[in-house]
């Protein structure tokens, strides 16, 4: 499948932005992940070819940066901040509620594929703690009630 026309042309554009093609590697990986939802083996091989580096280098980069996933996430990828400011404002209660309500632990996906749950480090939104990122969006100032309403609204 890799990659679609649209992704391919965006990769082309990314390569043009840097004096050295290798600089486009993270951009290429972001684009491939956006298309598939995660980074598959063939994406690693493809990225290596496009920016002209060894496959092993790309594999290393993928595992170094926490945003790259090697497995499909749920349709709604819940990323709960666990760092100090969020902890002080109750992220543990929110996380405990998420675990119970979804019936999964961190790192797991619900059987219907709707939700996946992970904890992440500080997302730079400490004033609106507790907060979590869902796919690309921030959801801030969470309470159990607001969280339930949010989950209900997600198909």
């Amino acid at each position: 499948m890799i990659p679609g026309k649209e992704t391919e042309s965006r990769i082309e554009a990314a390569l043009l932005e840097y004096p050295q093609p290798q600089s486009a590697l993270l951009a290429v990986l972001h684009l491939l992940q956006a298309e598939r939802g995660y980074i598959a083996d063939e994406d690693i091989e493809y990225a290596a070819r496009r920016v002209d580096v060894p496959v092993a280098h790309v594999a290393g980069v993928v595992s170094f940066y926490t945003m790259f996933r090697r497995k499909p996430p749920g349709r709604h990828h819940l990323q709960m901040c666990r760092t100090l400011s969020c902890q002080l404002r109750g992220c543990r209660e929110i996380l405990a509620h998420l675990r119970t309500r979804l019936g999964i632990a961190e790192g797991e996906v619900t059987p219907d594929g709707r939700f996946s749950l992970v904890t992440v480090e500080c997302l730079g939104s400490c004033d609106t703690a507790p907060m979590m990122r869902v796919n690309d969006d921030y959801h801030e100032g969470l309470t159990i009630e607001r969280l339930d309403a949010l989950l209900d609204s997600m198909k």
Partner: protein
């Protein structure tokens, strides 16, 4: 987000709902400073003005910005200015506010910086999770390009400048300037040994300066109003306005702007609304982001600037003020941070890689009630072995807080050992690991 009594130089456009647009920025006098720099000043004059203003970097270390730019070699040949928008220090969220709400202010400051150091291709490194600010910034660059502020022959001055916005992918260490450059080259974010410093060997092996978002946001006002005017804000050697991030147990968390040198007590009790719960008094404050030494409640009569906080045994850092009330277990709070650093260590240096893991194990043990008396000294000993012995300052960034929590709240650590349990665990909420 701001307080009525606050000063607004950095946040002056934020009252507008359309503050991120070019139109709004221009109506507030935007891009006049860029025009002035390009048309009336030589690059050297810009550097001199910034030097004279006393501006110190807002990314954590407080190094004088003009001096840093002055280290860049003169003459032709590629050199780079890189904007550090990685903002990942726990407790810090000021750069995101600027990027989302006033991207043109950040961009204008950055463009002037590029001109000052003679850079023709500037890079903005933004953390990958900041998708919204990234899109806003891309839009701002596009708007600026359409008006001739980016591209060939800037405002007819003959100076060419390209800008690339680069997305990181989730790694705190990439905020460290040399790790950031490695990452920008498409590699693992592994900090480099210094020297050579980036001003000699930086991005793609060329001279490079790295600046924080808030730092460059100060530059347009320096160029427009002059170094003298700017130097009168704040305190001697600690000049200018500053963004303070308040989080934790305060009633009104948020970003507050004041001149450097505002008292910490005033910041907490007056501006951030005081303690979140009336029956829960203040216990501890981290004044500058998670990597600086913690203060006890009786130590908050200190001024919030680089030198005053250093004299008080801590640091201004990124000005991320984390407030904790007396419900907090300091062992538990430190464990949270130790897990952060263990997760974020890049793994190159043994003291950092192994030490952060040990911290976690020891603190977990203390929290469980299985701690030993010798654990306190072990924590301090580990800090001595890590600090100063690593490639980059991440090692220090965890060794310093550990040492300060253990020494400042020693009785509490001892209580964990003596009573074989966490004295605050019963009161703590469910979900506590």
């Amino acid at each position: 987000m701001t307080d009525g009594r606050a000063q607004t130089l950095l946040l002056k456009n934020l009252h507008r709902s359309d503050s991120a647009t070019l139109e709004a920025y221009l109506q507030g006098g935007g891009y006049r400073a860029l025009a002035r720099a390009l048309k009336e000043m030589t690059p050297e004059q810009v550097v001199e003005e910034v030097k004279a203003s006393g501006l110190r970097g807002r990314g954590g270390a407080g190094f004088p910005t003009g001096m840093k730019w002055g280290f860049m070699p003169k003459g032709p040949g590629p050199k780079y200015l890189v904007l550090n928008a990685d903002e990942s220090e726990p407790g810090t969220f000021k750069d995101r506010l600027l990027l989302e709400r006033d991207p043109h202010l950040v961009l204008e400051g950055f463009l002037i910086g590029c001109y000052a150091v003679g850079c023709h291709h500037g890079f903005i490194y933004i953390r990958g999770e900041f998708v919204r600010p990234y899109r806003i910034l891309l839009q701002a660059v596009q708007e600026a390009r359409a008006r001739g502020y980016v591209g060939k022959n800037l405002l007819g001055s003959g100076y060419d400048l390209e800008i690339t916005v680069y997305r990181g992918a989730g790694a705190y260490i990439c905020g460290e300037e040399t790790a950031l450059l490695e990452s920008l080259e498409g590699k693992l974010g592994h900090p480099r040994l210094k020297p050579p410093f980036p001003a000699q060997v930086g991005l793609y092996g060329k001279p490079t300066s790295v600046n924080n978002v808030e730092t460059v946001a100060n530059v347009p006002m320096i160029v427009e109003m002059g170094a003298n005017w700017y130097g009168n804000i704040g305190r001697p050697k600690n000049t200018g306005p500053k963004l303070f991030c308040l989080s934790g147990h305060v009633r009104r968390p948020g970003v507050y702007e004041f001149p450097l040198g505002i008292p910490l007590r005033e910041l907490i009790y007056q501006h951030a609304g005081g303690m979140l719960r009336d029956d829960r008094p203040l216990k501890a404050v981290v004044p500058g982001g998670s990597s600086v030494p913690v203060l006890r409640a009786d130590q908050i009569d200190v001024l919030m600037d680089f030198d005053s906080l250093a004299a008080a045994g801590t640091l201004l850092g990124s000005a991320g003020v984390i407030v904790m009330d007396d419900s907090v277990c300091m062992v538990d709070a430190l464990l949270n941070l130790a897990r952060f650093y263990a997760h974020e260590s890049c793994g190159q240096c043994t003291p950092c890689r192994e030490g952060t893991g040990w911290y976690v194990q020891i603190l977990e043990r203390l929290e469980r009630g299985a701690g030993r008396k010798s654990d306190l000294d072990l924590l301090l000993d580990l800090s001595d072995r890590i600090q100063g012995n690593t490639i980059c300052p991440l090692g220090d960034a965890v060794a310093m807080p550990v040492r300060s929590y253990v020494t400042q709240f020693r009785e509490e650590f001892e209580e964990h050992v003596a009573t074989r349990r966490c004295p605050r665990a019963a009161a703590a909420a469910p979900g506590r690991a």
